[in-house]
Symmetry: C2
Subunit: 190 residues, 2 copies
Amino acid sequence: MEADAAILEATRAALVELGWSKLTMGDVAGRAGVAKTTLYRRWAGKNELVVDAVAVLFDELELPDRGSLTADIEGVVVQFAALLERPETKTALMAVVAESTRDEPLRERIRTSIVERQKRLVLAGRRRAQARGELPEGPASATGTDDLIFDVIAGAVVHRALVSAEPVDAEWVRRFTALLLGGLSAAAQA
Amino acid sequence: MEADAAILEATRAALVELGWSKLTMGDVAGRAGVAKTTLYRRWAGKNELVVDAVAVLFDELELPDRGSLTADIEGVVVQFAALLERPETKTALMAVVAESTRDEPLRERIRTSIVERQKRLVLAGRRRAQARGELPEGPASATGTDDLIFDVIAGAVVHRALVSAEPVDAEWVRRFTALLLGGLSAAAQA
DNA sequence: AGCCTTTCGCTACGGGTCGTAGCGTAACCC
DNA sequence: GGGTTACGCTACGACCCGTAGCGAAAGGCT
């Protein structure tokens, strides 16, 4: 459909102006030039609608080859932080995660639409680093190391940006990346 | 007041049964045997009420001396994870953080009532480790290292428990702690 | 005791959102 | 052109919000 894109765009605009809590289905319908019933015919409610509206923003995340694992990590962290600084994602991401703690289908929707798109970057970064010889080829991936690293990176950036509410500037990114890589190399020696 | 404790207790009970989104002020008032107006005379709204109701749970966090920095970190991570597994905190924490992105006074309330209580553990753990000689006495604290470590620990655990929605079991804690300590010791050598 | 200030319970209210039902209409498919 | 599908629109009961107004009970002061 063509209208779907307009609806999701209207949802993002409403998130910017109103934030999550004051966003209403009737408002989004009005912005999109669509009847309120149309929204309910395609989405179960506010939660699902916002997840879809925000999910496309995570497609912007990429992992350009910057030559070293350090530079690759710093690059993706900066991108992720910039995404979290946008008003749409800032107000929506934590809200839908909070809702998902009591809504299993919503949790699955978030996982496939948002979380997996981020985790792909971790897998790609590890493979590229292994190709460079910066990381050992060992069975590290089989024991959940990728999951661990993903939670550390995404968790630290989200916590810094949304909970501590302090800027993810270049200095912080440098120090965080150094800490993470130090831990990885230490684990590789053991 | 004595009624305040009953109200906060009723709020936590309502969070367990209804979750954040379906929790209503009238419901809490009924559970606490109190008029709805009484709630509004003491709290500005749902956000502030829930923050206060959940904040006291974070007083349970302690940092017993387990003999080594590794054991201390693992201990506090396990405690924090157990706290996040409780239905009250699971549904409330992300929700109030989401609201705080558009409400500066609420953000400050969260900071003083919840975040600072966690950060204290990081400071205490670092000082204890320095007293043991496990960490250098350098000016590390002056450049925001404590803040960095706090965001990494709290962020990773929260992300693992609430976003990835996978268990923070002993094996994960062991691996995470090893990663973090590896990074710290690597930074100490530089 | 008497008064007086504060605090609380209770009711009622206008305003707003929710999610759905019902119906008419325009576009699309063969 | 007939039939199906999708949409717009209105209206609706239900619920929650936050506040006003009033009466009652508790505690402080002299």
